[in-house]
Structures are given as structure tokens and as C-alpha cells.
């Protein structure tokens, strides 16, 4: 279980997180929604320890995110970054197998390559893609390679940062379906950050809305239409008028 208690984070005078309290159960898929600049990415970076919170506590199965042994802690996670964040200097298969090629669980190159090709197949890419460089791939293919890298070592927890940003509706649907299938088949805990309401409906078990530095609403995905929360209503229907200022 991932548990955040009263997490605060500021960058200079900009107080981004003002006391986040949330729990994500094992095997649950939580989607975090909220306007741009509300701190959604900061939230998952805090969980991963990429950003240190100013106050509060983050635990994963009881282990403190800040004090846990880093390598073992991070080995439990997979992450799909918004822009893919593929390593430009490495071919696709080495990107996917990156974790398998170093560290404690290092595997022989041939075995790592086979695993990478298997994961590429899992996300709908042909083995020929394995030897291409990331710059040779389309945006949708890069996202799939990023997804393959995120699941390469069968992590227990997967984070998806804007998985459908910049993709056309068909490719967005493909990525959403892949995420749902993979999370279900692996039994992984997932936290997804998105603005895309189609992704929310296809991926989420639960939804949390971040606004004003706190979790404004949190509940099962089938209750978002009937929540009665004016902030959530405005956001999910994309209305310009409402309590959320359109000029931020």
C-alpha cells in the first residue's frame, strides 16, 4: 500500500502541495486529475524520491520513501514518463532492458534482449523495432517503448505520467487499453496522472482530484459523474465557468 500523510512541497514561494493525504491499496489503479501546474507530477516524484517533500510522510508497504534503501526501493517501481524519456544514445531494446543490463539483477545481454523483445511484443511493437534508435520512432511508438521499459522487470508499482499526451485519439485508446490490460494481468498497483477524461474512465479504479495543493475529491471512478463536487464537475466536463479559475 502507498500512503501519503500531510505531504507538503514548495518551490521557492510557490507552495505546490499543501497537505496531501491519500492511500492507494495494493493492486488498485488510481488516476490523479487536476489542472496544469497543480502539482500532479510533483506528487509522484515525491513518492519516487526524485523530489524531497518539505513535510509529511510517504510510505510504501510501511517503508519510508526517503529512508528506504534506494536501489531495492526503486526496483519495485516502473514509470512511464510524459515524453517517454527514452535514452537517445541507446537503441530501443537497450532502453527497454536498461534495468536488466545493470545492477544487482544484471542478466546476460542475450537474455535481456530476448526479454526486451518480449515486452515490445506485449505493447504491440514488432521485433524489428528493437534495433532502431528512439529518434527513429513516432510519438506513439515512443510511448509504447516507454511502457515496455516501465514493465520490463515486472514491477509491483507502475506510474504513468500523462500517458496519452500528444497522441491522436486512436493511439490514445490503444495506450489506455494496454495500460489497463497490463495493470490487470500483472496485478500491479498503478498511479496515473492525466488530463484525458477518456483515460480516466478506461484506466481508473479510483480517481483523486488535486486542486489548490490538496486532494479535493477522492472516490471510485463510477462516482465522478454524481460526486456533487463543483470543482470535479467543472473539470470532468471541461467547463470554462465554475469555481476553478480559467486564468491561472
Amino acid at each position: 500500500m502507498i500512503e501519503l500523510q500531510n505531504v507538503h512541497k514548495a518551490f521557492g514561494r510557490n507552495q505546490v502541495l499543501k497537505g496531501i493525504d491519500i492511500e492507494v491499496a495494493r493492486g488498485e489503479s488510481l488516476v490523479v486529475i487536476g489542472g496544469s501546474g497543480t502539482g500532479k507530477s510533483v506528487l509522484i516524484k515525491c513518492i519516487l524520491g526524485l523530489v524531497a517533500p518539505d513535510a509529511g510522510r510517504i510510505t510504501v508497504d510501511g517503508h519510508d520513501a526517503l529512508t528506504a534503501e534506494r536501489t531495492a526501493f526503486l526496483a519495485r517501481f516502473g514509470m512511464l514518463f510524459q515524453g517517454g524519456a527514452l535514452f537517445d544514445s541507446l537503441p530501443v531494446w537497450q532502453n527497454v532492458a536498461f534495468r536488466l543490463l545493470q545492477g544487482r539483477g544484471k542478466r546476460p545481454r542475450d537474455a535481456a534482449r530476448d526479454t526486451a523483445i518480449g515486452k515490445l511484443r506485449r505493447v504491440g511493437l514488432k521485433p524489428e523495432v528493437a534495433d532502431l534508435m528512439p529518434a527513429e520512432l513516432s510519438g506513439g511508438m515512443q510511448k509504447r517503448v516507454g511502457l515496455a521499459r516501465a514493465i520490463a522487470d515486472d514491477p509491483e508499482i507502475i506510474f504513468f505520467d500523462e500517458p496519452t499526451a500528444g497522441l491522436d485519439p486512436i493511439m490514445s485508446g490503444v495506450i489506455n487499453a494496454l495500460i489497463r490490460e497490463i495493470v490487470d494481468e500483472m496485478g500491479a498497483t498503478a498511479i496515473t496522472i492525466t488530463h484525458d477524461m477518456r483515460s480516466v474512465r478506461e484506466i481508473a479504479h479510483k480517481v483523486a482530484m488535486l486542486h489548490g495543493g490538496v486532494i479535493r475529491w477522492h472516490g471510485p471512478v463510477d462516482r465522478i459523474e454524481t460526486s456533487g463536487d463543483p470543482y470535479l464537475d467543472q473539470f470532468i466536463h471541461g467547463r470554462a465557468d465554475g469555481p476553478i479559475e480559467s486564468v491561472r
Binding site: L50, L74, M79, A85, Q102
Partner: protein, 276 residues
């Protein structure tokens, strides 16, 4: 108080506050400079500590030796060739004034191996390598590749900084050695084709007056310059701001800072090795 006296008092107050503002700006700039020196020194220390502790990424080290060492050979070689030739012409033109033309080969050799070889190689590598390292790591930062490395249980310091710094520290002395030889060859070509030296006399003068420490000191300088160049490139890349402008600024800072540090280190090392 008369209107004139009040005006003078106000003017004095304005001058006083302008002086205070200037002093405050100077204080801020000094504080920023000292903070930057502190951060950089800490980064250098951390790099040295990581160089002694595994894991070591030997494949990355090999790739960087190729990129920093082998691919810098043409630019270092060409620079050394022209510098050696120009040095021979200058020394000859100066030596003629007091009948000391015969010193051209030995001064070219000593000047190349002690000073111009390492400094020119260092500056060329700074222009070519510090900029590319800063741009590469800066872009990796902007595109979240550094964060991706961390999530894949890989320390960017070990994976990116250590192989680059180690490769540059090993490769630049080799480049200096090659540059020295090519620079001396440049002087030799100018000496025998333009200045009337015989091949044998030129080579004998070159070899006879060159000592082991002349060459070794230049190679040590090369290692120090390689360390400075790669470290500065990595540091500036890691500190890069957001967007294209941030990466551009990091690249420019890496080149300027490493060039200045090379020249300063060159003076300090020359003092250390050759002071009377």
C-alpha cells in the same frame, strides 16, 4: 532650511542610496560566485569519491574514450600542426635579432610539450567536448532522462559523470602526446622548407634539448585539463535550466568556464613544476 540646502541633502541621500545599492549588488554577485565555487567543488569531490567506488560502467567508459579521445584527434592534430609551424616562424623571426636562429628546434619542442601542446589540446577539447557533454546532459535533464535513470535504479553521477570524467582524464594526455608530436612536426616542416634548416640538424636539436620532465609535465597538465573539461561539462549539464534557452546557457557556461579554468590551472601547474 533653505530650498537649496534641502535639495543638496536630498541629492546626498540619493547618492548614498545608489552607493548602497551598488554595494549590495556586489555583495550578491560575490555570494553567488562563492556559492557556485562551493557547489562545483562539492561536485568534484563527489565525482572523485564515485570514481573509487563501483559500480563501474565500463561500456560507457569505452564509448566516452572513443567520443572524447579518438574523435578529438583531427581537431587537436590540425591545431598542433599550425601552432608548431607558426611557433617556428616566430622564434626564428625573434632569434634572428640576436643571431640565435639555431634555437628554433629546441624552443619549438620545449614550447610545444610544456605549454602549447597541453593548453591547445585542452582548449580544443573544451570547445568540442565540454559543450557537447553539457548539451547532452542538459537535454537529458530537460527531457526527464535523468529522472528516468534514477527510477531505473541508476545513479546519474555514476552512469554519466564518472565515465566522462575518467575518459577525458585518460584521453587528453594521449591527445597532448599526439599533439606534441604533430606540433613538433609542423615546426620541422617549416624549419626545413622555409627557414633553411637541414633535416638532421633540426631533429638532433629537437631531441638533444628535450628532457623527460618536459614531456611528462605536459602530459600531467593534459590529465588535469581533461578532468576539468569533462567535470565542467557534466556539472553545467546537470545544473541546466529549463528549455532550449537553459541548455544553451549551460553549454556556453561550460565552454567559457572550462577554458578559463584550463588557463588558470595551467599557470598554477607551471608554477608548481617549473618555478625557480
Amino acid at each position: 532650511m533653505s530650498a537649496g540646502a534641502a535639495g543638496q541633502q536630498q541629492q546626498r541621500r540619493r547618492q548614498g542610496s545608489a552607493a548602497l545599492r551598488a554595494l549590495a549588488a556586489l555583495g550578491r554577485a560575490t555570494r553567488h560566485l562563492l556559492a557556485a565555487i562551493g557547489h562545483f567543488s562539492r561536485y568534484a569531490l563527489l565525482t572523485l569519491m564515485h570514481m573509487l567506488r563501483g559500480p563501474f560502467y565500463l561500456r560507457e567508459l569505452g564509448a566516452q574514450l572513443y567520443a572524447i579521445g579518438y574523435l578529438s584527434l583531427p581537431v587537436v592534430g590540425l591545431t598542433a600542426l599550425f601552432t608548431g609551424g607558426a611557433l617556428a616562424l616566430q622564434i626564428y623571426a625573434g632569434g634572428v635579432r640576436f643571431n640565435a636562429e639555431a634555437v628554433v628546434p629546441s624552443i619549438v619542442a620545449i614550447g610545444m610539450v610544456r605549454e602549447l601542446g597541453p593548453v591547445m589540446a585542452g582548449l580544443m577539447v573544451a570547445a568540442r567536448v565540454a559543450s557537447s557533454i553539457a548539451a547532452e546532459i542538459g537535454t537529458m535533464k530537460v527531457t526527464e532522462q535523468l529522472d528516468a535513470l534514477v527510477t531505473l535504479s541508476t545513479d546519474p553521477m555514476k552512469y554519466l559523470t564518472v565515465p566522462r570524467v575518467a575518459a577525458a582524464t585518460l584521453a587528453v594526455p594521449v591527445l597532448v602526446g599526439v599533439g606534441d608530436a604533430i606540433g613538433i612536426f609542423g615546426g620541422y616542416m617549416v624549419g626545413i622548407t622555409r627557414l633553411g634548416f637541414s633535416e638532421v640538424a633540426y631533429l638532433r636539436n629537437t631531441v638533444d634539448f628535450l628532457e623527460f620532465w618536459d614531456v611528462a609535465s605536459g602530459l600531467v597538465k593534459g590529465a588535469a585539463f581533461g578532468f576539468i573539461v569533462a567535470l565542467t561539462g557534466c556539472y553545467c549539464g546537470m545544473q541546466s535550466g529549463r528549455g532550449a534557452q537553459g541548455v544553451g546557457r549551460a553549454t556556453k557556461t561550460a565552454v567559457v568556464a572550462s577554458a578559463v579554468m584550463i588557463l588558470a590551472a595551467n599557470y598554477l601547474l607551471t608554477e608548481l613544476f617549473f618555478s625557480a
